[in-house]
Symmetry: T
Subunit: 148 residues, 12 copies
């Protein structure tokens, strides 16, 4: 049976392509989901791609990834910077966790420089727009194959 990669997206990412395009670009979340699904498929993985504005739902989905997933990609949006609950959920996992951000969060406001997700993630990829998701899938693949 194929491995499932969870790709979880946090608050306001549903607006992608419309919100502040000078920061996040014109690509929509649908576009990214399509590219991820295609990239997963070519690797023989199942892609479980979701978005929510709710911190609690994100926590529950991370727990779900811990049960049924082979790896987790997470772009937690604004919750990245404020949610200890996400950190705790991720710490309960023993699968690779790749943190992704579209923008380079370190070139933005000070309060976006700190990430609770980073404290538990395997690694971080940020600043490459939608391409970051593909790179993150490759990173996950590398982790899964043990070729690190």
């Amino acid at each position: 049976m194929s491995q499932t990669i969870f790709i979880l997206n946090g608050p306001n990412l549903n607006l992608l392509g419309t919100r502040e395009p000078e920061i996040y670009g014109a690509t929509t979340l649908k576009d990214i989901e399509a590219e991820c699904a295609s990239h997963c498929k070519s690797n023989g993985w199942t892609c479980d791609f979701r978005q929510t504005n709710s911190e609690g739902e994100l926590v529950s989905w991370i727990q779900e990834a811990g049960v049924g997933g082979a790896a987790l990609l997470i772009n937690a949006g604004a919750y990245t910077h404020t949610s200890v609950a996400l950190l705790d959920a991720i710490k309960s996992l023993d699968i690779p966790v790749i943190e992704v951000h579209l923008s380079n969060i370190f070139r933005r406001e000070e309060f976006r420089h700190h990430s609770y997700v980073s404290l538990a993630a395997t690694g971080v990829i940020c600043g490459f727009g939608a391409t970051g998701y593909r790179l993150a899938l490759d990173a996950a693949g590398s982790q899964l194959s043990g070729n690190v």
Copy 2:
């Protein structure tokens, strides 16, 4: 003529594979150079891979990359956290700059959480060991091709 990708490595990275392997793994910098060279070659790029313990030399090399390079990958090691000079050198470039770290710097000591390089880099990749360099080359390729 092929494009040149500069891959610059900072202090103590020459020790890779021997220093604190529980953090940095057993791969040597030679191994990484070989993989980068090979990956570059398959993309039709020239790979200019260097290491130095000197902050000033790193500054000069970054300037050099600004003149002759198509993209810059930089793992500035400890200078990442202390060098405004690196930041200034990178700000003078108008090519993609990819910051790489072998370890997830956000899971280490507090003083490693801040990066002057990040303030000017296009994006950041950290926590994936030697694989991070290959991902960074892919990120550079994506930037160069305009497929972001």
Copy 3:
């Protein structure tokens, strides 16, 4: 067709009139809704007045206001001080956003002095109890009419 003013209320505001009346007064949220509806009506606006204890729902409602609303009044309650997600949602809007607080938050605990909402709102009105909503509606009207 008449313009819609969204008036969104955050956590614990459903308790208004019962919780800590020495700070928030005896007026209930129902009372405020009635006054807002009446005031909107007299201005020819539709009033969409809601309350939730959920940060995620508040984010979604703000997004909704961005699509169908002419202006947004928001009393985000405690999320005011902790939610970057609200900030991001509000930044995606291009309609007037009026931040309202019943109490003067600057005369209360230190952690209530900072507002993420303020970083993106058009303006702020606080300390006037239920009257603040009516003033905020007038401010919105002023913004909408261009008489600033």
Copy 4:
């Protein structure tokens, strides 16, 4: 009619017994619920034991406790450290509120040393694992009987 004790549990506590057992032990939340129910029964109380990953739901349940409960035990998990909304909800109650944590939060990361819940709770019990719930019930009993 018997008094109802609300026992509310926050994010990730549903993982108890599986997540990081070196910190939280092997007891599951079901085990704790059973022990609480039994302990309540022997005191002639009704036990209303719940868990949620949602901050908003936790706020609503606290409000509910304020209406129908005789006392509130709360282990708010990660929201302990970040949620002003919980604080506001608890401040609206006039029943005893006992804050419980399985681990001694003061021996963990710095960001777990601050609790918004503590600012309004009657008292705090932490570091005694599942036993802490039983102690908290006894504390609640002491408060209810006026034997403080």
Copy 5:
């Protein structure tokens, strides 16, 4: 006899309409005075509208308002952020004090986010340009009539 509303303006506000119009707009202080006077007149109030660059004079005028005024509107300009003397003067009053700012001070430099005036004012209105003065007069009216 009609009630007097004091409207006191601090340093540099005499430049209004010429200084940094991208922040403060093109309206002059004379325009605002005229509108305030008219709005007061229609409410049956006397309007005492002044401006000074002197902190000490502002202190004296606030004291004067405490003796002869029914309410105080104050836009203390830069002294807002640095003057404990203003705070002390305002604390000596027992009439409604409305703090007004033309711009949303929370979207500007960090040192403008703190206001000594707010620590004693009844409420705050900021970010609505000249309209803010009219809203503040309405807020004062509401306070004076007891309809809060």
Copy 6:
């Protein structure tokens, strides 16, 4: 031979019942000692209950508890917040250490929110007045019996 529980009390606790009764209640330290002794007796433990105003004596007593005691209850009073010496003494023990405070220290002045004792104690109980000592004895019993 019966196990000895050390119950050590720090500075000013001898004033209990007279000092600031609105914070600490009317119970005297003698009352607490009596209740502790009785509770210990019913558990088959010997109770060694002491009070001192001297930090150094408290350190020595903690060391003594480490030699002859089965568990330590400690209400270090004001030394809780300032004494690294206490921390070091407690770290030298390998018996359960229960920190007790009569008041909820987190609802008092900022400088009472930090406890050096907590950094080494098994757990903390605060805010329940004299009842806290009894709960702490129960906690100790639970630790000693291995039923955690």
Copy 7:
């Protein structure tokens, strides 16, 4: 010729006896002036007692004291906490400078705990109400007589 003692009072002290009597008492500044004059007279000194709300005037008066005065008593009111200009003026003097405050400023808001005046004054007397002026005169006398 008799020596002159300058007694300078800062902003809002003219309100004494009316403003916040629970902090400052019912004595007026006139009362204090009378007592100071009398006390000076009995010591054979001339008393030059003044009050101003203006920081600049206070600076000028301090300079004046430096020329014609034997000692300076200063209650700088709110400027105590914010005025480097006062500090500089006082540093230019080579006569005894006694800082006086009616209230104990260390039991009030945090921002009143720091005094620029203290950094250059000979000594500080605070918390004794109007009596503090008399004590300060005695302190000045002691300084002038060399009996320190």
Copy 8:
């Protein structure tokens, strides 16, 4: 029976006259005691003058003053800056407490600018050398006579 004034001196004050005379002067503690005794006598008070290097003893003596004393003068030396235990002891008193320091502590190292004693003392006198004790006795007299 005459009233007793407690005058308590903290660590290293026994060295007075020998330690760092450029800061503390050449007067010995014996000299000060003699002057205080004489000044007390002329006021009809008994003078109980003590010195200790022990924080705990100082706490006990403060408690003693609370029982048998009419007023307390305290120069807590270095414990001024570090002892919450002193603060708690002083808070338990309901007699006037005058804090004295020989030097102006605000002109010395940063860590001497904060005083726990000040948080509970009636008032503070510092910077006048041995004269400060006499002024403090006068201040105490003023408090006792109600002429404040």
Copy 9:
């Protein structure tokens, strides 16, 4: 008509030559004015040289410079470090503004290291005593001639 250079001096600078000569030297403000006037004359400029101890007057003079001046030299003395009002006044100018200090403020107390004036000035010259004014005039000349 010749261009006017405003040279504005803040609090205590009237004391120059007498106050703390080890820091500020023996030159008086009159000497500096004479040298500036002479230097201006040789450049064909009118020199408007003033001093005040009043922050408000300084604000007004800066505004005046904005209307009639070709350039502004300002030594704001102690207001440099505390006055947002000066900053705002300077920001309203569109002529060169040269900040001058006699001493090197960065070798003095910490609170003199920050300058509100610097945030809006064209440039800063400090540490060269009276010579700094002549250098500043040359800098102004360079700005006015476009030879930067």
Copy 10:
């Protein structure tokens, strides 16, 4: 007559060899005393070696060393980090003062990085276990002989 070297040890050092041996080693304080005595003897010095858990006693002993000692070695244990009283006592000495710590305090918790003792000691030796005492004696000898 031979010179006396005071070697003073602070709280919990009596536990040496039993407490946290992974940090402090297995050597007991008796062992260290023996080695110090022997090393002193071979240098012709008298060794006065003491330990106390009391801060006040440590202060008194330091004063004693100032009277009768030729040099002071001090391992103040936890009081190192919190005691201004120790600092003051040491500042009163004019003999060499050598601060010793068994462990490298800079590799331990943050609050152990600051030492009040260091602010007045001649020099510091830490991290070499019991050997540090012998090195400190040699350092003292070097100081006493003037061969620095």
Copy 11:
């Protein structure tokens, strides 16, 4: 023999005229060197003008200036903000040291507001572009001639 003025330039200044011209202008370092040489010549000085990206080389050059130079002009670039080594080197000199910056560093990022060089330099000139070097030479001349 003529006096030599050392003019040392730090990292990235070799890029002048190409790097971020909106901040640093279009003038190249060669242009500045030419102007400095010319200005020196007309004053009868020898000009030793250098640039390096190496912190260590800058330290060595400063030492060299201490031996053979009459004055030092230094634009340490980014090392200004991070190098204690530069500070130490400059502190070893007893010739005038003039710190120069092309831009007004106080209008840029926060981390550029602090300068280690300023802590030891005679004075600072910044914000006047290339003109600053000429002003600095004049300042040096003034220092050398004793006309300060």
Copy 12:
């Protein structure tokens, strides 16, 4: 073959004996080298004594010590306080590392109180001038012989 002790000295230490003798004394680095060589010889060790102003060279030398050295003595001068690169190099060693400073860095400026070297060194010796090097050699000998 004899063991080699590396003794590495950082920036400005070549100035020893000339730079700020009131802090560092009159001994030159040559003197220290001679004494170290002699002391090493008498212990049967080879002494490799070097100095550089370059951070990068220091890093390389530390790495060299890790390969061929038995122990490392390092006085990193100013880089002590700023260089994470030194820390990383030292962390790669598994030989004893002794940090030496001539002066007691804790009695100097605040920014000299933190040492990156200390975070990885075996121990620290500071404040004993040139004697410190000899003590450090003894400490190294003790480490090498296992007599710690």
